[in-house]
Symmetry: D2
Subunit: 345 residues, 4 copies
């Protein structure tokens, strides 16, 4: 039985508390928040769980082996670092930190101390995204493109742009699903409200191959869209997260090249493009709650010394792309390289 605490009981914290209070293998010992009304809400619903606004008390409590942090991103580094230094395993909201430098320091600290550092890339624990990875590894052939649209009306953030708020989901999914990692990023976007961060943005991810990836995020769209297309040389996928049951559709469609490529003097080619249109198939997906799966994995890693799917390095890779995209956004879409050395990290 692993004792855990949750820090931050705002938008996402209640989901952590609910899952951790019901999970086998964990005992939810305390919830920490600076807001006393929120603590009262916890006390009302979970009378056996201690509440406190004193984070130091959490750190000192020897019964608490792991801390789940769901506070604003600007506080991630400080809270997570002191948790690690107090010897606690950490489960951290995404994005892992507001800068790659801080993310790196968290990784180092966790590794030095042999502690588990997990980032809450929730989507990679959904059956839909896992199926996509399976398909990318299995039947799609060479991956040509990844295109994602994630738009709706609200919720405007004031401290981070729509990229840090919405594209972070796509980047964490891509990090998990795609067979390659981007080498450069460019981004265009706009803030339509004075003093606010960008509310619409388009990201291009560049790879060392013919793979091309693109993300459209928008807080100001009239309709909600959560749709990803993956084009492969053999099959193609549509992932529509708003579909109640058939979220993943696999299309046995594509192009067949019957061309001859000869090179005598200059390349002579008579390409004959054929169109192949076969069945569509929507695999059955389990409907387990992703967060429950994820927390179970976190606990399992603590027990066995394993590494979570979304570990600190995954969190770092995503933050590096977010940083580069933000830099590009300020420079009218200039391509920003992702340094190779750091990519390997």
């Amino acid at each position: 039985m692993i004792g855990v605490a949750v820090v931050g009981y705002g938008y996402w914290g209640p989901n952590l508390v609910r899952n951790l209070s019901e999970a086998a293998g964990t005992e939810l010992i305390a919830v920490c928040d600076l807001n006393l009304d929120r603590l009262a809400a916890v006390r009302g619903r979970y009378p056996s769980v201690a509440v406190t606004d004193d984070y130091e008390a959490i750190l000192r409590d020897p019964r608490i082996a792991a801390i789940a942090i769901a506070t604003p991103v600007s506080t991630h580094f400080r809270l997570a670092m002191s948790a690690l230094m107090a010897g606690k395993h950490v489960f951290l909201e995404k994005p892992i930190a507001p800068s790659s430098e801080e993310a790196e320091r968290l990784i180092e600290e966790a590794e030095r101390r042999g502690l588990v550092l997990a980032v809450d890339h929730t989507f990679v624990h959904t059956s839909a995204v896992r199926k996509m990875r399976e398909l990318v590894e299995g039947g799609l052939g060479e991956i040509y493109y990844y295109d994602s649209v994630r738009v709706n009306l609200g919720l405007f953030q004031h401290d981070v742009s729509v990229i840090w708020d919405l594209a972070v989901h796509d980047l964490s999914i891509m990090d998990y699903v795609l067979p390659a990692r981007p080498v450069a990023v460019s981004a265009m976007g706009m803030s339509h409200f004075p003093g606010e961060p960008e509310n619409i943005a388009y990201l291009n991810l560049h790879f060392d191959s013919k793979l091309i990836a693109h993300v459209h995020v928008n807080w100001l769209a009239p309709v909600k869209v959560r749709r990803t297309l993956i084009g492969g040389s053999r099959k193609m996928v549509v992932y529509d997260d708003l579909e109640p049951s058939e979220k993943i559709k696999v299309y046995d469609k594509g192009i067949t090249l019957k061309g001859e490529f000869q090179a005598n003097g200059e390349a002579v080619r008579q390409a004959l493009i054929g169109y192949r249109s076969g069945d569509m198939w929507a695999p059955h997906l389990d409907i387990a709650e992703a967060l429950a799966t994820e927390l179970k994995e976190f606990v399992g890693c603590i027990e066995t010394g394993g590494t979570p799917v979304a570990d600190g390095h995954a969190g770092l890779r995503v933050v590096r792309i977010l940083e580069a995209a933000s830099a590009s956004l300020c420079q009218r879409g200039r391509v920003v390289e992702l340094e190779p050395a750091r990519r390997v990290a």
Copy 2:
């Protein structure tokens, strides 16, 4: 009664022939094509229409006042220029020409001779696009963004990229609908097949204001999408061309800013963003065939000396953006300015 000829009886020509043979105000005199089988097909269906593979004969025929050209874009300049020089009015497939220089010369020639030069920007004659323009002029408020997705499987072109084939539609619609004209373009794309032009591309259009426009075109998508979002400060529009009847949906949705912006020493602001969610409304749209409307306008312009909605200048503006986008595509998405002087043309 205006005598007309159609040149090119391939993919689009039959629609021109059918419409011109049925239209009031025109007499379809001849159809010209180099392919004799196609001419035989015309003869079978329209026995009273002359057929020929000799374009010079068309140019010499004094009964023919206007020529509709539906040939590959590489032949547009030569055929249109000789038609204009022979004193014929010209209706030209989109894009008007493969280069802005040729487009400019066609415009000059037509203007010098007082001839009508129309470009077949078909979509601007649909009731859906006309309604969008009405809404942009009327109720949407300040336009924040224009986002279009035009993807499906096939038809791959071998001589032009997906931008020239598909984005040309979006650019002609934007040229008609938007209150401002772009000042710069950037584009990313990829060819996944050796020796073939780009089959997927993303265009960003930059404006002198906070307006931002983006187009996604793709010949290799598993599903067909034809969807445009327009975000305004007061209302927002979804235009889905695949909807059988409700192609245009107007959402009375948006953001309300109740912020105070004070500047003492450093800017202090307490923005309060509110979300407004009202009715949705799908205006009834006529279902007249766009091409019939367009040809009627062309004939009207010949009769009255008027200027078509999609004249040579509209065609030129679109080609300039296509050229700039192609240039950007080769330079990894570098922003390519559209020269101000030329923009005015």
Copy 3:
């Protein structure tokens, strides 16, 4: 502050408990269930609420003024009757009772004692259904038909047919929305599993006018459908409960009759039917939880002596139709009259 108890903590009871524990104006005093595990679950979540498996204790408790009953329908009469006889107001799950006779006795008892008897026809408290009623009263013109499809896979019931389980929703909505009440019912259906009640059924409701109503319910459908069409002489409505936001769409469409009806010897008519196709409009709908609205109304009625929208009479009318439909179902769809005297009740 009105003291309430909830009886039955199975499928729906937890929603009652959650709403009543949070509602202003009520104090949730006790929860009663025969299953001790369920009571333990209540104690864990709501430590200040008493739990008991002794219904008599609830009836005796003077602090409890009202009882909400969410138990199997076969127990409704006994539990509700004893609650009324103990002087408690009653909020009763739908259908009100397994027979109209029992429903009548509950109504009589409540009326004699001046107690509020509400039936949980949840849908009539949704903004979508309220909007439909408004439209039926307002802009649709004469109502021609009401057609509802409510199908999906599962949850099979073993004690009642799909009519009592699913069609009860449609009947309660119709009771609230339609301007007239049915005079007869016929129903066809089938049980595909030995010993089980009918899992698919079609109901026809007959009216004294040209109004026709039909309901399709099915526990064994591959897809979930929750769609109602209402045809009026002036406008038509589609109500799709699965739409996340635009649940109600109003179509300004219809038929215009420009006929002349003359009768000389035999009727001579030259009807000219015209088709009118105007705008579609999706009114904005509030997203308040229906059950909260409903319980608030229940409490208000207790305080002011008012009558709930879905009172015992509404519950009775629905049960009469269910009874008649069940009778028809056993007789291959024979039309079963709803006795006029009883209709008035």
Copy 4:
């Protein structure tokens, strides 16, 4: 080369003429219509085809071996009978005749003379309906129900009810797809316009098994729906004819009964119903025009002495159900038996 004539150039006739003029194996010799304007239209488009308003001339013409009839249903019997008596093969619009008696006489005449009598049940020649039959024969298991909705706004007929106009499609599809034939019919409906036939109707088809079929047809619906559900013991199908490509979806979903059925004194059962939810699959469908396939089959039958899929007997079976449904409609939905002797025919 089989010489054919088309009689009737109204709504459907032009499709027959176009297909027959392009088909291999047939020579379209003449088109007959009483309306001279229509004949002029034929002459304009098909200058080599003879036109006439004299049906006798068609019958006398020895070059004409087969006649395709697309006139109002009230004329079917007279025109088809005289064609058969003149020794011509007949391709007849659906429904085959306004009464089963007339249909029977046509069948007898055709059989006595060894002539092909085909009914234009177009849908049974679509790849979607053929796939459904394949699935019903193959993987769906025992068929539990067939449910079809065919509604939209217009086109109102004045001489026949919506059943004869729209349900005829469903009945011909069912005749082709289902493994059993109905033994009885009931129908409810309403005419909302004085002197007009029923514009909305609901049909129930009864079988000798647990199969149940239902059809909803409506000329006065705000939206167009063309959707059929087939429930089988192993799999289920959704056929949506408005889907551009995935018209057929097969759901590997259903119920599994793990019950024990014991009979000691009275039947004791503890049924355990399980829900199975597997993949969905949309088979690729060819997009050949159904009418072309159908006419090719007709010609093939003439050449080889074969029997068309939709022969006179299929046409008769459909008309018998239409007759019975009409009778039921007038009697408030009374169940009308389809006589066993005649069913066999």
